[in-house]
């Protein structure tokens, strides 16, 4: 009991006074929980820029500026970035005429949904099992987490060898059938991501208040009821973050896609070759390095649409799962 109480005391309590403070002080309060505000905020207000400055500059150089430039370039015809010619909405028009883009969109959507469900269900199950005081659970956690440390390209090639090692026994290969390509990619992503999501779920499960679990036990709730009525509502913040991560990861997937199948096989539909296992990011990449003089602008327009899509979906999902979170 005492352990839980102590933990709750250290939790972040929003400072009501914060509303009247300068924006900078509010930032300071946010990071330091609004406590010790007098002792901490004065020197921080004076020297804070020194700490935040370099990161802000790096963020502007490495993210904000390229992002703005990227949006500008989506309205241009260009071969190199510093030599672009304004082209209007032509690029956006050609994006929607491109059947391969539409295909890769639906393919990515299907992939994102399936991988989201599988990764989260398995990650939660593994995390739940490993918080039940099993012997050697630390070892299991390490082993499950490890695939996440390998880069996507390497993983793609390793798994293509594994899959083809099996499929060649049947005289075929993962590059020949889009269904195998799809499930191959799902298996790969599950293998890589489950361990990562598991860590987040374990942190969430450990934070479920003991007194609630105890109360449920005293009230005679079964394990199943405790899981659904007490544990899951309490780990909703973890579920929010994990579903957000796996949804956006699913949409943004590139390395694994290019290394495992590179879009193969290709089928010709209405005279247009469609890469059956090409996801959005790979489609943008392939468009960018096509030979048409307008191809780069089109790819850039695709990238802007891609951003709006991923950001929109991610935010919508966040808003939805946030509503399900309970306040402790």
């Amino acid at each position: 009991m005492t352990k839980t109480k102590k933990k709750l005391e250290t939790d972040f309590v929003p400072n009501e006074k914060a509303a009247h403070k300068s924006p900078f002080k509010r930032v300071v309060d946010f990071f330091f929980g609004g406590k010790n505000s007098n002792a901490l905020s004065r020197p921080l207000a004076k020297w804070g820029w020194l700490f935040i400055g370099p990161v802000t500059i790096a963020f502007i150089i490495g993210f904000v500026w390229p992002f703005i430039q990227g949006i500008y370039l989506s309205f241009c015809k260009f071969r190199i970035v510093s030599d672009a010619e304004f082209y209007g909405f032509q690029n956006y028009a050609s994006v929607f005429e491109d059947a391969s883009f539409i295909h890769s969109f639906w393919y990515s959507a299907l992939f994102a949904i399936v991988s989201l469900i599988l990764i989260n269900v398995f990650a939660f199950a593994v995390a739940y099992a490993l918080t039940q005081n099993i012997k050697g659970s630390n070892l299991f956690r390490t082993v499950f987490f490890m695939p996440n440390l390998i880069g996507g390209i390497v993983l793609g090639y390793i798994w293509s060898m594994i899959f083809d090692g099996i499929l060649s026994q049947f005289g075929t290969s993962i590059l020949q059938n889009s269904t195998w390509g799809f499930w191959g990619l799902i298996i790969l992503m599950c293998w890589q991501q489950i361990g990562y999501m598991m860590i987040i779920y374990i942190a969430g499960l450990n934070a479920v208040p003991e007194d609630m679990l105890e109360a449920a036990k005293i009230d005679g709730a079964t394990k199943w009821q405790t899981l659904w009525r007490v544990t899951i509502p309490n780990v909703m913040p973890s579920i929010t973050i994990c579903t957000f991560l796996s949804l956006t990861n699913g949409f943004k997937l590139f390395d694994q896609n290019i290394a495992l199948t590179a879009g193969q096989p290709i089928s010709i539909q209405n005279g247009v070759p469609i890469k059956q296992t090409e996801m959005l990011a790979l489609n943008i990449y392939n468009t960018f390095y096509g030979t048409n003089t307008a191809a780069r602008g089109t790819a850039q327009a695709k990238a802007v649409i891609f951003f709006i899509l991923v950001a929109g979906l991610g935010l919508a999902q966040l808003a939805y799962t946030r509503k399900k979170e309970v306040q402790q």
């Binding site: 700490f51 370099p54 990161v55 500059i57 790096a58 071969r79 190199i80 970035v81 510093s82 293509s160 060898m161 083809d164 060649s168 005289g171 075929t172 290969s173 993962i174 590059l175 020949q176 590179a262 879009g263 193969q264 096989p265 290709i266 089928s267 010709i268 005279g271 247009v272 070759p273 890469k275 392939n286 390095y289 096509g290 030979t291 048409n292 003089t293």
Partner: protein, 447 residues
């Protein structure tokens, strides 16, 4: 507490260090890529002020080029920097490098698609000193307005490479092979006795990225070439459509390769058999490859000979090898005049200096210049001998493949399906990718 402060200071310092390290990379990369002290002064501290920056696209030639660059710098004090794009990333590297203030002054525009993409950035090389050194116009690339965009600095050839020593062991002679029918007899005989002989007919026909171009790029050329020949003209730009009239001949040779090789046709999609090594270690008597492999083969297969793509076309007894190039120099039109002049001088020196051209010829192939060194490459000699005998040269019509990466990817996919199951229906898919794919990609590239 003190410890904490020290730790915090170290962390803050290292963070700043990481950030500012990014601002200071030009000196570092130049030094490591330049090879030689002079290359470090790429800013141009020499009298004339010009310097050369060559963006090379062949990783296998990097070592030689660094050597040549150093020789030139030692001789003239003009800084030459050679940077080599990692395998298969030339287009990406060029896009990034051309955006820099210190852009390449010398780069490669190797085919008609390249002319379309990068032609605007190329200086017209007509009437330059190096253009006057050329002994043929055959390997130059022009744009639609007749601008000489890029100039061939060497040419290569490809065909079927045979190891005559292995043929002898199997009781055959190279002289038996005169056309497709005789090639087929020899190949099928060797393949049928492979376990007894200890070697097979063809090396593996892998369809992964490291090998598929031997078929979708090189062997496909026979179809385009015979189409050109039947029409009585050579292409000067990419045609909007092709007829596919000679696809049956492509199929003849292709079937012969995949069905008489070390690896079964069903095992080719993801590759990994290292065909080049198979030939170099005498595991197979035939391979489809190019003259640049000569140095890899000359030790173990010193008598290897390159023969034409025999595919069952009438009169193919008079066929020669596929000769052409993608090695064409272009000079950056946006570079400063001093740099352009320095670059042109360097190019001229490369093709006229005895020592330098010897090094380059041994690495690249024949240099079509009046005063360049002779090549010691046996496969290129085969090409010349066939031409002297009056056989026709098969030019690289394959260089006109529209939207080349996408076109070949579709072809690979169709060939994979055909390899797994050699039915007429699957061959129809290959035909669709080969012929209809051309028209589609032409539209995509030019629409």
């Amino acid at each position: 507490m003190k410890m904490k402060k020290i730790l915090a200071a170290i962390l803050a310092a290292s963070m700043c260090g990481c950030f500012f390290a990014g601002c200071n990379d030009s000196g570092g990369t130049t030094a490591s890529n330049g090879g030689g002290t002079a290359a470090n002064n790429s800013g141009g501290t020499t009298g004339s002020g010009g310097s050369v920056y060559w963006l090379n696209f062949k990783p296998e030639s990097d070592e030689v080029l660094q050597k040549v660059a150093k020789m030139y710098t030692d001789e003239t004090k003009v800084p030459v920097k050679v940077v080599t794009a990692a395998s298969g990333t030339y287009e990406q590297t060029l896009s990034a490098e051309m955006d820099k203030s210190d852009a390449p002054t010398l780069f490669v525009i190797g085919n008609s698609a390249g002319v379309k993409q990068w032609g605007d950035y190329a200086l017209d090389l007509k009437d330059t000193k190096i253009a006057k050194e050329l002994n043929t116009n055959a390997y130059n690339l022009y744009d639609a307005n007749g601008k000489l965009v890029s100039i061939g600095y060497c040419y290569e050839c490809y065909g079927i490479i045979v190891n005559p020593d292995l043929l002898k062991q199997a009781g055959h002679e190279l002289s038996e092979i005169k056309n497709f029918a005789t090639l087929k007899t020899v190949v099928e005989d060797i393949h049928s006795r492979a376990s007894e002989l200890g070697f097979d007919a063809f090396t593996s026909c892998d369809m992964d990225d490291s090998s598929s171009w031997r078929f979708t790029g090189h062997m496909a050329n026979l179809e385009y070439f015979y189409e050109e020949k039947a029409a009585g003209k050579t292409w000067t730009e990419c045609p909007a459509t092709i007829t596919g009239d000679y696809l049956g001949n492509f199929k003849n040779l292709y079937d012969l390769c995949i069905n008489n090789s070390i690896s079964a046709p069903t095992e080719l999609a993801t590759g990994g058999h290292d065909p080049s090594n198979q030939f170099a270690t005498c595991k197979a008597a035939f391979t489809v490859q190019g003259s640049w492999e000569y140095s890899a083969y000359k030790e173990k297969a010193p008598n290897a000979v390159m023969i034409p793509y025999y595919c069952g076309v009438d009169g193919e007894e008079k066929a020669g090898l596929n000769c052409g190039t993608e090695n064409c120099w272009a000079v950056n039109s946006k570079a400063s005049e001093a740099d352009q002049q320095a670059t042109l001088d360097f190019m001229y020196w490369c093709v006229t200096n005895k020592e330098a051209s010897k090094l380059l010829v041994d690495s690249f192939g024949v240099m079509p210049y009046k005063n360049a060194a002779e090549s010691s490459n046996a496969f290129l000699k085969n090409a010349n001998d066939l031409t002297t005998k009056g056989n026709y040269v098969m030019d690289w019509a394959t260089n006109y493949q529209p939207n080349v990466n996408e076109y070949r990817a579709a072809l690979v996919s169709a060939l994979n399906a055909y390899n797994a199951d050699q039915t007429d229906a699957n061959w129809a898919q290959v035909k669709a990718a080969f012929v209809d794919g051309w028209a589609t990609q032409y539209q995509a590239a030019n629409g």
